[in-house]
Point group: C2
Chain length 262, copies 2
Amino acid sequence: MENSKYLKTVIIDKLIENEATQVEDVTIDESRLNLYLNGEKAISMMCIPKDQDAHAIGFLMSENVISSMKDIKELKVSEDGLRVDVIATINEDSLEHLYTEKTLVSGCGGGVTGNVEGGVEIPFNQTAFKVKPETISSEIKIFYHESELYNLTGCVHKAMIYLLDGNTITAEDIGRHNAIDKVVGKCKLQGLDTTKSILFVSGRLSSEMVTKAVMHKIPIIISRTAPTYLGVQTAHKHGVTLIGFARGKKMNIYTHAGRIDV
Amino acid sequence: MENSKYLKTVIIDKLIENEATQVEDVTIDESRLNLYLNGEKAISMMCIPKDQDAHAIGFLMSENVISSMKDIKELKVSEDGLRVDVIATINEDSLEHLYTEKTLVSGCGGGVTGNVEGGVEIPFNQTAFKVKPETISSEIKIFYHESELYNLTGCVHKAMIYLLDGNTITAEDIGRHNAIDKVVGKCKLQGLDTTKSILFVSGRLSSEMVTKAVMHKIPIIISRTAPTYLGVQTAHKHGVTLIGFARGKKMNIYTHAGRIDV
């Protein structure tokens, strides 16, 4: 199994009604990935050390440090997988802002985000991309069933981008902010257009999750669970369609319902 | 209801089988709380603006910036609830380290933690505190049933400290790292001893959750869901008993099982 290298076996005491048995259990790897930008340490992220190149690209673009793939001259993942070196033309202000903002985000969050509220001007998302509720219902079903690492460890978040042509790209991580950065990075690496796409996220939609959709001009963001009020406000303000509690044939449309083709 | 001020009503389109109805829905507030330390902005946190004093104290002590309550000379929460001013004797190295580490934590994480791995020497937890599995089973049941904000919004994490005398202290937040900081801060404000206590956490036990237990010398940490491998390693190294998948009369003991009195 391709994923086995992200799993670590531990010996545990399984207790059932006061009866303890020693058994093997599988846990997910959690490693510190160090991101170097033009030779200098930019940041560390605790994550599953998988798709590191996509992770770095998605993160840097989420935070507006890099504007497009053309800005990247070189990207190298170290042999042990714990260091990514990026040589690129960067937006110094955004990098600086990342550090000075020092905002701890609330839910499975990206720690030092803040570039949407900060200096970056994001145009209102006007994309006329429509999707049928049936498509959402069937895609969210697939989204929740196909997660090998979650099934094995119960400790993984997932993000999926559903593209205009019906294809999907997925990524997993311990943090859902990382999962989103990874899936966006994968799309960028493959030259895929995310401006007419849907972002499916496992877990709650707090403001920084919605912010990532905003930064990448993704018109629709969907979760099986709840958004926060600030998440809803962020989506409203920037023209993003936000759907929560998408389960079976039910869903709650919080903002910009016009993109849902009833 | 005391909690109603943290709830925000929004109008949504509820879609069931292609049939849309406009209804009211309740979302949780998510606000930026600014923490000022000796007159200077230290950090912002996205959180539910509730128990701000406890939140600030718990956070500063989790990160070793403040060592004990005696170091705090003054603590003031602004009228709008979005600013906490702390005047205190601080550990400058820990504060500096908080900024320079720039670590994005993985799961619902504290963004810039790292003081356990960093400069701070933490003695191995030798506390001879024992608990019966029956106590854990009954407490986790109560823990999961009594969360008004979760029941209303589906968007809240909870932390609870079970004390030696059987009393419990609880706190809620959008981020589970905040919930832990808040509940620890509440104990500190009330002068309660957490060195013989159990920390119950909703959600997964990634390394930074375990780190908080380590920093506050809490000997046992318990969740209904999974730990990461690094979470298990951190608990192992520092003498903390880590229990995951505590459900009904079952639980997995990952480390230091000696404290569970079978």
